[in-house]
């Protein structure tokens, strides 16, 4: 266990070291361990109602190996973590080559048929230490560094205590970190588009790198007008044009609900209606512009 390197605002973080190497079969060794692990988690948590680690998000981070002071240091770029994601826990996974001599089989004796033959290791496995190093002494940010491009990096070093461990060769078993988090913004409207839609369908010009290749390469003209506050807030535009002197601010009168742009969208009046032009002029000067006068008269009679 390790104290939280993310500070109290990110929630408690229990970093467990796991030696997963001995469970790896020969077939999966060749595969991408991170992808295989995430696939297992997907299969486990895609069942209805299941919550990974008590949250809703699992992020994986692969290590980038660098030599610092002739020591192998693994860097994890955590920049893609979102502010809305509250970290619940994290696990560190690494592969450790067994350094003890091959296990030997205890010969089964004729007189001990009932005793199962066991594999006994000749020695103990090498003790591994996981070190998180920081430039600052702040324990809240232990192991966290800022990269040259402002990236949020976590540095980790595996120390087996050997004097000359050598440079680890690149392998598909590089360490990786899984971060279990609760994304507080996932219940917000449109959260799926915020995280999964990589392009703006209304954006003009070139798509971002990594945008869907099947999206049209033709320059698209953005026809929409400038999005205003009320539109983004899923409110009808022009509501703020309500008269300030409205007696009850929360009570929307019909004639106050449809001002501005909607008037221009009204269908052209028919011949019969055009005969009532004089009446329209009267209505234009009153506050009941869009109200059905007939209905109003009926209501007055009632």
């Amino acid at each position: 266990a390790h104290t939280s390197p993310f500070g109290p605002s990110r929630g408690s973080c229990h970093l467990a070291t796991t030696q997963s190497s001995h469970a790896i079969t020969g077939a999966t060794r060749q595969a991408d361990m991170v992808a295989a692990h995430m696939l297992r988690l997907y299969e486990k948590y895609s069942r209805r109602g299941a919550r990974p680690g008590g949250g809703n998000t699992v992020r994986s981070f692969r290590a980038r190996l660098e030599m610092v002071d002739q020591k192998a240091v693994y860097f994890f770029n955590l920049t893609s973590m979102q502010d809305s994601e509250m970290i619940l826990s994290a696990t560190f996974h690494f592969y450790s080559e067994p350094r003890w001599p091959r296990a030997r089989e205890v010969p089964c004796k004729q007189w001990a048929k009932n005793v199962s033959c066991r594999l006994l290791p000749a020695g103990l496995p090498t003790h591994q230490q996981l070190l998180f190093r920081s430039l600052s002494q702040n324990t809240a940010t232990q192991g966290l560094l800022r990269g040259a491009d402002g990236e949020l990096l976590l540095s980790a070093q595996l120390d087996s205590g050997e004097k000359a461990p050598g440079v680890p060769s690149p392998s598909p078993h590089a360490p990786y970190i899984l971060i279990y988090a609760d994304d507080l913004a996932i219940s917000e409207p449109n959260s799926v588009a915020v995280t999964l839609q990589r392009y703006d369908p209304f954006q003009a010009g070139d798509p971002e790198p990594g945008a869907a290749p099947n999206s049209s390469a033709d320059p698209r003209v953005r026809r929409a007008t400038q999005a205003t506050g009320p539109l983004q807030a899923n409110e009808l535009p022009g509501l703020d044009e309500r008269p300030a002197h409205a007696p009850h601010a929360q009570h929307y009168h019909k004639h106050e609900l449809w001002p501005g742009p909607f008037r221009t969208l009204k269908p052209r009046p028919g011949r019969k209606d055009r005969r009532k032009k004089g009446q329209d002029v009267f209505m234009a000067s009153s506050r009941v512009l869009d109200f059905d006068e007939k209905t109003m008269q009926k209501a007055r009679r009632k």
Partner: protein
Amino acid sequence: QWAEPRVCSRRYLKVDFADIGWNEWIILPKSFDAYYCAGVCEFPMPKIVRPSNHATIQSIVRAVGIVPGIPEPCCVPDKMNSLGVLFLDENRNVVLKVYPNMSVETCACR
């Protein structure tokens, strides 16, 4: 879907992420059953359309016709299910997110 009932109900819709251009970064699932709600919520509303109390009152007010411009209640998703999505983030790290309200389980007039 001519055979579908006219009344508000859940209809079948399978969404393939390739159809909306998200298959470049979504690893799994390739597609899922999203369903959708469609149909009318006309007066009188049967129990099967699970009207809210408000929808019942609105439907009656509309049927009586005392207040003009009141529409029928809307046929909308009622119970919804979450969906786990395995995808690559911008740095090509594998991410698993369980998104709520991704597929319709029941529809209702609201």
